[in-house]
């Protein structure tokens, strides 16, 4: 389903906290239908980059283009409209603790569609079933496990059938089987719905299992040092990236 049309473009992006530059001159393109991984060692700015892509943090310089439109130059209304096309799974699920799983998933549908309550509750059950949580509609986030919270977070991220799904460390804290299941789910969603997926992760198994494109952020040089299919980078990439992708055995 991958069609090589640029969907997201990062142009000369510089990220900084005050005067402290975390990453500079980032330039890469994510195509429609890609499963794109942002990788790098701890503290290199992966999550910060994700937060700048989804509009939570303003870049120090440069910008992000969606379908050729400059996100950071757009008006607040246009930015909001664009954000509604994003589905975001935060690291710990970020479910609203005072709402049941069904209410968590229903909220975006209630806020941004005119669907009848009956149809909303049907769609909510469907989304929860898609992530294997059918029957858990009335549970509160505090009553379910960490892995289930992640999946419920994914159901919420998919509520509005977004064109782009962002995942911040989806596999962190999951057992290998749950992690694998989540990977399969991400692949299935991309293949079936044609969504573009952007992941921040350093789980090598996930990277090789699902990603078809990636960028490597380096904490020392504070810029990207590799861009491409992670399987190719593992064989032919620069030393640092090969070492990373082969757990120090390159």
């Amino acid at each position: 389903m991958t069609t090589a049309a640029p969907h997201i473009e990062i142009r000369n992006l510089t990220m900084a906290y005050g005067d402290y530059v975390i990453q500079r001159d980032l330039n890469f393109t994510i195509n429609r239908g890609d499963i794109f991984v942002i990788m790098g060692g701890s503290g290199c700015g992966k999550s910060t980059l994700l937060r700048q892509m989804i509009g939570l943090v303003h870049p120090a310089a440069g910008t992000v283009l969606y379908d050729g439109e400059d996100y950071w130059a757009a008006s607040p209304e246009q930015q909001l409209k664009r954000q509604r096309g994003f589905g975001i799974l935060f690291q710990a699920g970020a479910l609203w603790s005072s709402l049941t799983l069904a209410e968590n998933v229903a909220l975006p549908l209630q806020e941004f569609t005119d669907l009848a309550p009956d149809l909303i509750s049907e769609v909510v059950s469907l989304k929860l079933s898609l992530v294997g949580l059918g029957g858990f509609e009335d549970f509160y986030p505090s009553e379910i496990s960490g892995g289930m919270k992640k999946r419920a977070g994914l159901a919420r991220a998919m509520a509005l059938d977004p064109g782009i799904l962002f995942f911040d460390e989806p596999s962190a804290g999951l057992d290998p089987l749950s992690s694998r299941r989540l990977d399969d789910l991400i692949l299935e969603l991309r293949d079936s719905l044609g969504a573009t997926v952007v992941l921040v992760t350093h789980e090598l198994a996930s990277i090789f299992a699902i990603a078809n494109n990636s960028v490597f952020l380096d904490a020392d040089t504070r810029t990207m040092i590799a861009y491409g299919d992670p399987r190719e980078l593992a064989e032919h990439g620069v030393d640092k990236v090969r070492t990373f992708l082969k757990r120090g055995e390159a």
């Binding site: 049907e122 469907l126 509160y140 719905l193």
Partner: protein, 379 residues
């Protein structure tokens, strides 16, 4: 059965043909959730005689989970009625999504207790409130034991944290304490002066404001300000630490959270509140003086001398004792509710609210008790 019996709005998205026993449902056009889409439940009755339903797509363009939702409704209904389904004519993506929906069987429904009646609810609330007292007494006991460890130098806490807490409770509270005390002093002066002026006794504003503020009002206002400002902050801080398992981490290290978190906070309050109370008293007296001199034409020195002659050391002692007790109670309520906090954002909110309510309740109860005790002692 009439296959044309599809709501007109849906005809661009859905077509039905075949026989009553073996009908076919065809999805076509655009299936986009935000636009509103057909629901199977509304047409399910038409397929009551079906033995096998064929699902397929003709000129299906864009689709999202609305199409999956419709098909999932068909599959669910067919499974319930043991009707065969043939989905071979559906696009690959739709078939895979459908498989995903039914991949994990739902868990058995949870057994839920029936909602208690009104009488039972009242009883439960009363029992909960009653059971809160032993918990409070136990917490007070733990604090006493911790104080013992502190005095004998065996309590573990960080001095730097303690200094920060002192600064947070004392100096940083000065602006709000100044403002409230000044305004309350003003109100007291006005209330008294209007009545006293009737008897030509405006000078006694000094007695009323001086004794009133120093004995009662300064301590009460400081206590209530700190319940909202510091007690709430303690409950939220410790509650959030509870949510993040930081308190469990302390316990597993063998560090008592009472020594490390609760006692420094209580002590910061107990040490700083008397000073704040004294300060609030002086600001209140200055407010009374300002009003008396500027509005009611009382002489400055007259007011000053009357205040000096009215106030005795025992008034200050009563005010400071009350302030210290209120400070301890505010710290107690904040830390108790923080330590009792559940493990969610909502629980932190509930603890914080409860800390402020409990703090003010305890202040009010102790104010009444202390006033009666001091009265009986003739102080």
């Amino acid at each position: 059965m009439n296959f044309d019996d599809i709501p007109p709005d849906w005809r661009s998205q859905l077509a039905i043909d075949g026989s009553a026993e073996e009908p076919s449902l065809w999805l076509s056009g655009e299936w986009v959730l935000r636009a509103g889409v057909p629901r199977y439940a509304t047409i399910a009755a038409q397929f009551s005689e079906a033995k096998r339903i064929r699902l397929g797509a003709r000129d299906l363009q864009q689709w999202d989970s609305s199409a999956v939702n419709f098909l999932a409704g068909v599959v669910r209904d067919c499974r319930a009625r043991e009707v065969d389904i043939d989905d071979a004519a559906l696009p690959e993506g739709l078939r895979r999504m459908l498989a995903l929906v039914f991949a994990v069987p739902p868990p058995p429904p949870r057994a839920t207790a029936p909602a208690p009646g009104m009488l039972a609810s009242v009883g439960n609330s009363a029992l909960r409130a009653w059971r809160d007292w032993p918990a409070m007494i136990e917490f007070a006991g733990e604090i006493l034991l911790s104080l013992g460890r502190f005095v004998t130098g065996r309590a573990r806490y960080r001095r730097r944290d303690f200094a920060y807490l002192i600064e947070e409770v004392g100096p940083r509270a000065l602006p709000i304490v100044s403002l409230i005390s000044f305004l309350v002093g003003t109100i007291l002066a006005y209330m008294g002066a209007v009545q006293l002026a009737l008897f030509g006794a405006s000078i006694y504003i000094a007695d009323l404001v001086g004794i009133g503020v120093v004995r009662e009002v300064a301590a009460l206002m400081t206590g209530i300000i700190l319940a909202g400002r510091t007690g709430a902050a303690y409950a939220a801080q410790i509650g959030t630490m509870q949510v993040n398992e930081e308190i469990d981490a302390l316990r597993t290290l063998g560090v008592s959270p009472i020594d490390y978190l609760v006692l420094p906070r209580m002590m910061a309050l107990v040490l700083m509140v008397p000073l704040l109370t004294l300060y609030a008293g002086i600001v209140g007296i200055l407010a009374g003086m300002t009003i008396a001199v500027l509005v009611f034409d009382v002489g400055f020195y007259e007011y000053y001398n009357e205040t000096l002659s009215a106030l005795e050391l025992k008034h200050f002692a009563v005010g400071l004792i009350k302030g210290t007790v209120y400070g301890g109670l505010v710290g107690f309520a904040g830390c108790l509710r923080g330590m009792q906090c559940g493990r969610s954002a909502q629980a932190v909110g509930e603890s914080t609210t409860s800390a402020v309510v409990l703090g003010i309740l305890l202040i009010t109860i102790s104010a009444s008790v202390l006033t009666i005790v001091f009265q009986k002692l003739g102080i």
